[in-house]
Symmetry: C2
Subunit: 453 residues, 2 copies
């Protein structure tokens, strides 16, 4: 997309909104593509956004809001009057509705639901009940099911008659049910249209694949890896079909999780941050992680205080303390990255800790020796004392081996303890490698003190 | 999946392979699901893997190999005899073929291609020519096109007659062409089957959406965001349809890129690492990044050497040097994570540096003050000198503001300079924040030295 075009569209729109020329707003937004609208939306102030969303036709506002990140969409919806919000939310498919309403305070969500069609609101309420990472929370309730006694011709007639109503539906599959929506079979749309119109669909239907409403993301991922289908019915305890889950919903839920994991590993732990959020909220969220970290950091650095005499005697060591701890941290983070990746791919499992350690320690020994020798040489040339080189080089070599062992193993152990490895691996790793690094440099120096002075 | 079942399946299979009981291997692999096969494959030694892949029916081996990560799949294929490899590769769809052959040395890829059906090999050769991140490199060449003069009934007849041949095809769309495959229109399968059998498809066809063969990932992503279709034709310079690109291929190419970015930011920079790779290769790749880092680290720490006198006079400062530099690094990394995320979402652009800086400095000022006060208090209580608390607290506050400014802005600037922000942002950030942190603590201490002793 053209950068200058967005720049211009944002400024133009902002001007129209400020001058309250709503006809121009409507005409102008009609001329933008969906994507341009999304990018324009981000540039507007919260007030301008609100005016814009109100002025769009509800179905257009719904399309726009479905495109932006979930947390952001929830914010925009929350800022509207419940009635306006309800008219927009009504235009979304049931899974999108649940997705957004789950991100809004429950009392405000109820305000919005109370302005919606009663039946639709009840469906949304039942979807919100499910956790967002199980089949029930990811499914959509729009699907096509017909009693097994229907003829092919009746189904085709219904499909063609009501094709407009079915615009939101996933029409690749048709589900065949016993009485009361008990799932009996499945038919691909193309099988239906290519069949003899007088046959009963109950006779044509194939045994259906299905998932339970409480299947979690891992199970759903494996299911869709195993079966190459684009969507699958979700059933309740009584085998009643209650929704359809799309492969694409599972994939995007997983991608979202991987992305959040990455954010978490970098210290954005309370959910997605966008710079359009308020400064205080962003500050508070970041601080909650930083304040834990500063305590860990002070703990680690207190090791240095134990060796003040050695440090005073050989002040050059102060230069090498951060080098040893930082470099070990880097090596350990590489191991964390590989372990996180292997956990995601399902190659490594919590029970593999020993195998992972063997693999890591072999790489860590080589890299520790190489990096330790480099640092030893640099220290010798710089400070002029070969023993000082020996102390810092040896410390780095040993600490690299410690770091890769911890980096490789900790994510697996945390997973076993059901603690989120994306958040906790980094701080645990750096606290331990800092402590060990300081201890090794200063401890070895204390042992060899006569040679260093 | 059941952990113990994988453990068992791997051991069982390994035993069958070692005892050369290939009938048992075949019977046993038939009993495993695809997913169990993939996980089992990772546990086997390279030799056992080779035996297993050779013993599977080619179409089953192809399915298995399509499931594992690309770089790993290429390794498995490379270890086979070209003739065996060719029989497996032939069973894959054209986009998967290109995907794997692009990851193999070109001479070995040619060996494999020379054992394949000539026409198929030529198609694969032409696909490999394209970069893997443009439409030409991601498309598949299996698609359904019919001349505009065909009747609906002829198309349906061809579809039903040859449905087995079309198993690999994406049959949601049918493309209508002029002579010589010049793209004229598109029809959804359901429109075809629900139409009057005597009509000409040329009269029914709608104006097609399409992409050019050299469209890059960003453009493809925007295209599919804009148009909710599952696949789209790819055309060459003469408007001839040369393939079809699936939305899912674009999404997984992007997910793969995001994942690689994450790996890179943690120091795995030369492509995906799996612990099944050789120790020396893993060591060499990790070292290439670490050895740059150690130089940067030594540079940063050399700032400490400039202030040896101050440090000797107030040895307690040595405890706070790593705390200030680490904590600023953490704050900076949070800003990097948000900028990388906003770059991916297309919310932030290189021209937004100033806007991003304003947003970052407002959060950074608050967090700097809070963290600085905490550290000042801790230092005062611990060391007993309020001025020492003032020095380290002020240094941390200022350095936090520097860190968020750099962390927020550097990814955007690197993007503008066309340097990969995922690799370079971290090292640049930590080198600068380390240097500034050391300089601020020791510089402020030197200024206030009489109050600290």
């Amino acid at each position: 997309m053209n950068e200058s075009r967005i720049e211009k569209s944002w400024e133009t729109l902002s001007r129209f909104i400020l001058s309250e020329d709503f006809e121009a707003v409507e005409a102008f937004t009609d001329s933008l593509t969906n994507n341009e609208m999304v990018h324009t939306l981000f540039r507007l102030s919260p007030i301008e956004q609100q005016v814009l969303v109100k002025r769009l036709a509800p179905h257009k506002a719904a399309e726009l809001i479905e495109e932006v990140p979930k947390s952001y969409a929830a914010e925009v919806i929350e800022n509207l009057e419940p009635e306006e919000a309800a008219s927009i939310v009504s235009k979304m498919s049931s899974d999108e509705q649940a997705n957004i309403l789950q991100n809004i305070h429950s009392s405000e969500a109820e305000d919005i639901l109370s302005h919606m069609d009663e039946e639709e609101a009840d469906i949304a309420r039942s979807l919100i009940e499910y956790s967002p990472d199980v089949a029930g929370g990811l499914m959509m309730t729009e699907f096509l099911s017909y009693p097994k006694g229907f003829k092919v011709s009746q189904v085709i007639h219904d499909l063609t008659e009501r094709s407009d109503d079915y615009a939101l539906y996933n029409v690749q599959y048709i589900y065949v049910v016993h009485a009361k929506h008990k799932l009996m079979g499945v038919l691909r749309l193309r099988d239906v249209v290519l069949s003899n119109p007088d046959l009963l669909i109950g006779d044509l239907a194939k045994t259906p694949l299905f998932v339970k409403a409480d299947s979690n993301l891992d199970e759903l991922f494996e299911f869709f890896e195993e079966h190459q289908i684009s969507a699958c019915p979700v059933i309740d305890d009584k085998n009643y079909i209650i929704g359809v889950i799309r492969q694409s919903s599972v994939k995007s839920a997983i991608a979202e999780k991987a992305d959040l994991d990455h954010q978490k590993s970098q210290g954005i732990v309370n959910g997605e941050e966008l710079r359009s959020m308020s400064t205080l909220l962003r500050s508070k969220r970041r601080l909650s992680w930083l304040s834990v970290n500063i305590v860990l950091n002070i703990m680690a650095a207190s090791v240095i205080a134990l060796f003040q005499d050695t440090l005073t005697a050989v002040i050059a060591l102060a230069v090498f303390l951060p080098i040893v701890s930082d470099m070990s941290g880097c090596s350990g983070n590489q191991s964390v990255a590989v372990s996180m990746r292997e956990l995601t791919l399902g190659i490594a499992r919590p029970s593999d800790v020993f195998r992972v350690w063997l693999k890591e320690i072999s790489v860590g020994s080589i890299n520790g020796l190489v990096l330790g020798s480099l640092l030893a040489l640099a220290a010798w040339l710089w400070i002029g004392n070969p023993y000082l080189g020996l102390v810092v080089g040896l410390a780095l070599a040993l600490n690299t081996m410690i770091a890769v062992s911890i980096g490789g193993g900790v994510p697996l152990l945390l997973k076993k303890l059901e603690i989120d490895p994306a958040i906790a691996s980094g701080p645990i790793l750096t606290t331990i490698t800092d402590m060990c690094g300081f201890f090794l440099v200063l401890g070895l120096a204390t042992l060899m003190l006569p040679l260093l002075i």
